[in-house]
Symmetry: C2
Subunit: 232 residues, 2 copies
Amino acid sequence: MTGARTSFRAIRDEMARRISERQWRPGALIPGEEALAREFGAARATVNRALQELARAGLIERRRRAGTRVALHPVREARFVIPLVRQEIEGRGAAYQYRLLSRREERPPEIVRARLGLGESVPLMHVRCLHLADRAPYQYEDRWINLDAVPAAREADFAATSPNEWLVANAPFTEAEFTFAAAAADGEEGSLLGLGEGSPVFVAERITWLGDLPITLVRMVHPPSHRMVTRL
Amino acid sequence: MTGARTSFRAIRDEMARRISERQWRPGALIPGEEALAREFGAARATVNRALQELARAGLIERRRRAGTRVALHPVREARFVIPLVRQEIEGRGAAYQYRLLSRREERPPEIVRARLGLGESVPLMHVRCLHLADRAPYQYEDRWINLDAVPAAREADFAATSPNEWLVANAPFTEAEFTFAAAAADGEEGSLLGLGEGSPVFVAERITWLGDLPITLVRMVHPPSHRMVTRL
DNA sequence: TGTGCTATTATGTCTATACAAAATGACTTG
DNA sequence: CAAGTCATTTTGTATAGACATAATAGCACA
């Protein structure tokens, strides 16, 4: 056997099977860790690890003293990876190109300040650029960078490296919020993406923080042919 | 201190801090588990747990014998929960209403068959319905159900229970694929959602399988005010 | 010179034991 | 009867020690 005195994986999978086959039904209490350890012939710690993974996946809910029960509405969650635009494009076998449109230290509109939770006096850098796949516009990027958090951005050469890549390499973050929505392209977005004004566009927004400190707010606009796909 | 002989959380956070503050730089090898355990005054198992969490989060990469290094491109992934429409609406404090528009056993268009990977002869149920939040259209749902996989759907009362909820309770799945995109509303979608034809709409599509067996394909159309938000 | 074996090393996992923390329910007390 | 207290139960986490496994580097040999 491969290492298997008994693997926590095997135990986890067996328990997942019991749940998916309704041997353990939604809402029901399942045996305690001790009992399971005895049943599987493993240490309690091993069973605990298996149970923790199932709990993290949302299949079960655990509470001290109350025990473990099968989740009533298996709160499933899907994951999607956060790619670099360039990798995303090259991953599709297309040629990547990048064009810097503008880059300026600038007073942000109120709404940007508000979303970043910053005061009036904080200096921000505004960068606009375009990512192309096989010479066709793929994504229009409109970004604000908090220069208090990332002062080095003043010296960054965004003509050579897209702010996306530069920030990944130079400004780590610990928190992020993503928003996805459909919108009508405004005139500028439309013409940059080769669409008419009012065309539907797919908009992804991302705000990142390092601890409490806001790093950057970016709005990424895609033509409607864009699809975000993910598997469970 | 709370329980802290030394918590794996504290160790994890301290190591995350070192990474985000570039004390440990991207690509660099960090000390081995033994050394860290000595440094933090903890058991190796505890350090191991902390490291495993960081690895799962994508901050570090670990390989046997080769050691642990800080990830070059922190390939992060975000998670989003898959809610029931009803919960989604009620969670916002709005009143949920549901309207069945049509429900028929029907020959699907070629594209539906293809996406589900089904042959010509497989019987499918086509259900169309509308979900409302505070009496305003919130989501138009257009669904195909594989009756070979879920024969009970023939008898389901979709006037009383939305297919969404009915399936969650009656048709478990193991695999799912999600697609998100922006599109222009066609005439029918537009009028159902109270929008003009050609308005931008946010479209989410989901296909689910139980093992290899396709269960259902659903297209969920939202007005452009809809936002899908998730945090890392 | 290259190829395959082998020792070494770092991570991966398991066990047994112990104590911590949360939640419950029974019990005590005003 | 209400409110607070405490014992009990179940999960949560830490520890030391052991063995497993992957990957590398170096050595031996053809």
